[in-house]
Amino acid sequence: MKFTIKMWRQEGPEIPGSFVEYSIDNVLPEMSFLEMLDNLNEEIIGRGEEPVAFDSDCREGICGMCGLVINGMAHGPKRACTTCELRMREFPDGAVITVEPFRAKGFPVIKDLVVDRGAFDRIIAAGGYVSVNTGSAPDGNAIPISKDIAEKAMDAAACIGCGACVAACPNASASLFTSAKISQLALLPQGHAERKQRALRMVEQMDREVFGNCSNHAECEAACPKSISIDNIARMRREYMKAMR
């Protein structure tokens, strides 16, 4: 297969970027999108030019490190799929593919396709935990948790923190990310002692990080590689309202 890549190149945070066109040949349909980029970079290095910087790590869809906007869609055209899991067979041979970084004020570009998602860590630091010191835990079976609740909590906990929800949202809202953690810990009894303070602090931190508000577009759910539901956003709002009282 053969493709033309319209690639976002940006040397640094303060330097304006632009699209640069590359063509790539000998792409196999079973190659992942990032393997295609690896090969393109080999060619670019071979020509003595600066390779395209992009983040990736596990390459099996679980670490959340990769994330590109491909043809205008966070993580590309396939639903419930990270960039690293996306295969080239999803694109017609000869296609022109546009590649950009996740764009949001809360995710400043570091270089080319690499962005700074430190805001997500700061949101978690604001309360995305149960305050239990190592060594002070009761027996694991001391608190029974119904299978149904455990499964719902797991659905929310499946978030990989990639930031596609922010990139997909017209408001660049981080609501899906924040609500997934708030939901997980609101559902589980272990999280109940701190649920009010957690909802307040995490939501406030999210606002401080210059993410926009949620206005129910649900683009986040559509882009989420783990199909995290916007029900979590509703739960976050309830938690926040209850905590305000």
Binding site: L28, E30, M31, E35, D38, N39, N41, E42, I45, G46, G48, E49, E50, P51, A53, D57, C58, R59, E60, G61, I62, C63, G64, A80, E85, R87, I110, K111, D116, R117, G118, D121, I124, A125, G127, Y129, V130, S131, V132, N133, T134, G135, S136, A137, G140, N141, I143, P144, I145, S146, K147, A150, E151, A153, M154, A157, A158, G161, Q190, G191
Partner: protein, 643 residues
């Protein structure tokens, strides 16, 4: 190679019966008073289960912790990718499990090449790990009555594996990450992301800090501390294609080796039996499918060589369920090394399937008939989806095709019972150390060991050292730090200055090829000698001909990999040397010259019941091997049998 220096290694195993060692040790070690802890600084490198748990727990205790990772967030560490589960001797299933049995299974699974006292401690704290994770909000799988669910893993005849769907590593890591971020919020842990450790700094022979490259600005920075904990994972990426993350590497551990930390059993590598077969030469990594699949999946190949009929057209009686045939007692749940070797043997003999002939079937047909599609989806849904995604084959309809791939390294920096390396004040945790898994790790034990080291071992043992080594106000202005920064800076500049005509990735691929062919699943004297000479040649070529590109002053992935590949070109040789010296087969180390008539690993306990710990003697000089002899006082040394 010399063996005359056994006394150099003191494992510091506490006195007493195996059941009492850890208890007695904890009761006897020195403590740092609560008000004094904040006067100490501890560096933790790595934020996976071992590093994250250590940083969080040391922060909770009141130490001043500096925590480093190469990714943009601690939540990305490769522990995140572990799928199947975590072992613990809870005996919630009433199926006869106990601390003793987990200890025994782990020693046996490791083919009697691990340190008894460490393994017993691991089994002992396993139950506390589950409690801690549940309390932190890890959504483990539950039964309808609300209690924790378990499943079985290889090498065990009990169900002691706790899990969170097929993403247990992710959930445990996020639990540990949340505890870490709580400490960040409280100001006790300071986080340094996108930093790669490139040197350990020694002052008066003691580890007092590290030098890192800031991967965004390119700056070479150093940090001082009272002790350094390394939790930087294993070195499977030396094979180029492995199930590890692309950024997983050996550099931090390797640089410590070159500063005096002995490297133990580098040849003990684990090739995981259930991975997706390689598809092409441009592939960047291999994908693992959890071992838990072997609970319900049956492994088979056609009885006829070169049978290329699609699997559903091969009738039952023409299939060879070779694991069930060869190992009736454990069947599809034999340990990983045995399952991997059996797959290789079937394929080498011409029974393999798929386009390359290097794959075997993992079939869920019977399980779906027995339990229904919904139950199977419940247990393995995300794994099936992942398989479908990558291969475009639906495992609900047709058997998976699998083949072994490099996955985990049991070898690592040598540590004593306290997890201290041969460098004073340098501790090594998790996969980066060598201690608990012997020559083969059992499934669901890596998560257990990482968290045991981080949550429960290091918080106890580090205090003993720190109490004896009071803070002395050392800063990074000290000459040792300046020298370290210069050394690192020179190495970075050297790589960029070569400007040859072969990319870093090409060299990585080549060294990986050598390692996979000669130091992989089957090893022999001739091949290992060939590997040593080939790697040497490739290494010399690398320093003349590598093309890195970009600059040292900003984010430069090619430069990051260049340093790592330079280290693989040295580590690979040490692995081959170790494999050459160990003239026996044990666990993941299979020397073709040493096998039973049935083709099983044949150990030589009279000559090789020891840890081989290698000491760096300088560039261009041969390393020296030191032995720590392994005493088995509680477990009887036996030929492993899973029949």
């Amino acid at each position: 190679m010399t063996a005359g220096a056994e006394s150099i290694l003191n494992a510091k195993i506490p006195e007493g019966s195996i059941q009492d060692k850890w208890k007695n040790h904890k009761a006897g070690i020195k403590l740092v008073a609560p008000a004094n802890k904040r006067k100490y600084t501890v560096i933790v490198v790595g934020t996976g289960l071992a590093g994250g748990a250590a940083a969080a727990s040391l922060g909770e205790l009141g130490y001043n912790v500096l925590n480093f990772c190469i990714q943009d967030s601690p939540r990305r560490a490769h522990s995140v990718a572990a799928q199947g589960g975590i072992n613990a001797a809870k005996n919630y299933q009433n199926d006869g499990d106990s601390v003793w049995r987990l200890f025994y299974d782990t020693v046996k699974g490791g083919d009697f090449r691990s340190r008894e006292a460490n393994v017993y401690r691991l089994a002992e704290v396993s139950a506390n790990i589950i409690d801690q994770c549940v309390a932190a909000g890890v959504p483990f799988a539950r039964e309808y009555g609300g209690t924790l669910a378990n499943r079985s893993f290889g090498g065990a005849q009990v169900s002691r594996t706790f899990y969170a769907r097929g993403q247990t590593g992710q959930q445990l890591l996020l639990g540990c990450y949340s505890a870490l971020m709580r400490q960040v919020d409280e100001g006790r842990v300071k986080l340094y992301t996108r930093r790669e450790m490139l040197d350990v700094v020694l002052v008066d022979g003691r580890a007092r800090g590290i030098t890192v490259r800031n991967l965004v600005t390119g700056e070479i920075e150093s940090y001082a501390a009272d002790a350094v904990c390394l939790a930087t994972g294993g070195y499977s990426t030396v094979f180029f294609l492995s199930t590890n993350a692309v950024n997983s590497n050996a550099t931090a551990a390797w640089r410590c080796y070159k500063k005096g930390a002995f490297f133990a059993n580098p040849c003990y590598t684990q090739i995981h039996p259930t991975c997706l077969p390689q598809m092409g030469e441009t592939q960047s990594k291999l994908t693992l499918m959890s071992e838990s699949l072997r609970n319900d999946g049956r492994v088979w190949v056609p009885k006829k060589k070169g049978d290329d009929r699609p699997p559903h057209q091969i009738p039952e009686k023409e299939r060879d369920y070779y694991l069930e045939r060869k190992y009736p007692a454990f069947g599809n749940l034999v340990p990983r090394d045995i399952a991997s070797r059996a797959a290789k043997a079937m394929c080498d003999d011409g029974f393999g399937v798929g386009p390359t002939g290097y794959a075997v079937y993992l079939d869920f047909g019977d399980a779906i008939k027995r339990l229904g599609k919904d139950m199977i989806r419940d247990r393995y849904g995300n794994l099936f989806a992942m398989y479908h995604e990558i291969t475009d084959d639906d495992p609900y309809q047709t058997p998976m095709k699998i083949y072994p791939a490099p996955h985990y390294t049991m070898g690592g920096l040598w540590v004593d019972y306290n997890l201290m390396s041969t460098i004073q004040g340098l501790y090594v945790l998790g996969e980066a150390n060598f201690s608990d898994h012997g020559a083969n790790r059992l499934g669901a034990s890596a998560l257990m060991q990482g968290l045991a080291d981080g949550y429960f071992v290091i918080p106890a043992t580090i205090g003993d050292f720190l109490a004896e080594h009071r803070p002395d106000g050392l800063t990074t202005d000290h000459d040792a730090f300046r020298a370290s920064r210069n050394e690192v800076d020179d190495a970075v500049k050297k790589l960029l200055s070569i400007k040859g005509n072969k990319t870093v990735r090409q060299y990585w691929w080549e060294v990986g090829r050598i390692m996979w062919n000669q130091v992989g699943m089957g090893r022999n004297e001739k091949g290992l000698q060939q590997a040593i000479s080939d790697i040497k040649g490739l290494r010399e070529d690398y320093w003349k001909n590598v093309k890195v590109g970009g600059s040292a002053e900003d984010l430069n992935k090619s430069l990051e990999f260049a340093g790592r590949v330079a280290d693989f070109l040295e580590l690979g040789e040490l692995m081959a040397r170790d494999a050459l010296g160990r003239e026996e087969s044990c666990g993941g180390h299979f020397r073709e010259e040493h096998q039973t008539p049935e083709g099983e690993a044949l150990r030589h306990d009279d000559t090789f019941c020891h840890v081989a710990a290698w000491e760096f003697k300088g560039a261009g000089k041969d390393p020296v091997m030191h032995k720590e002899s392994l005493e088995f006082e509680n477990v009887h040394l036996a030929q492993r049998s899973y029949k």
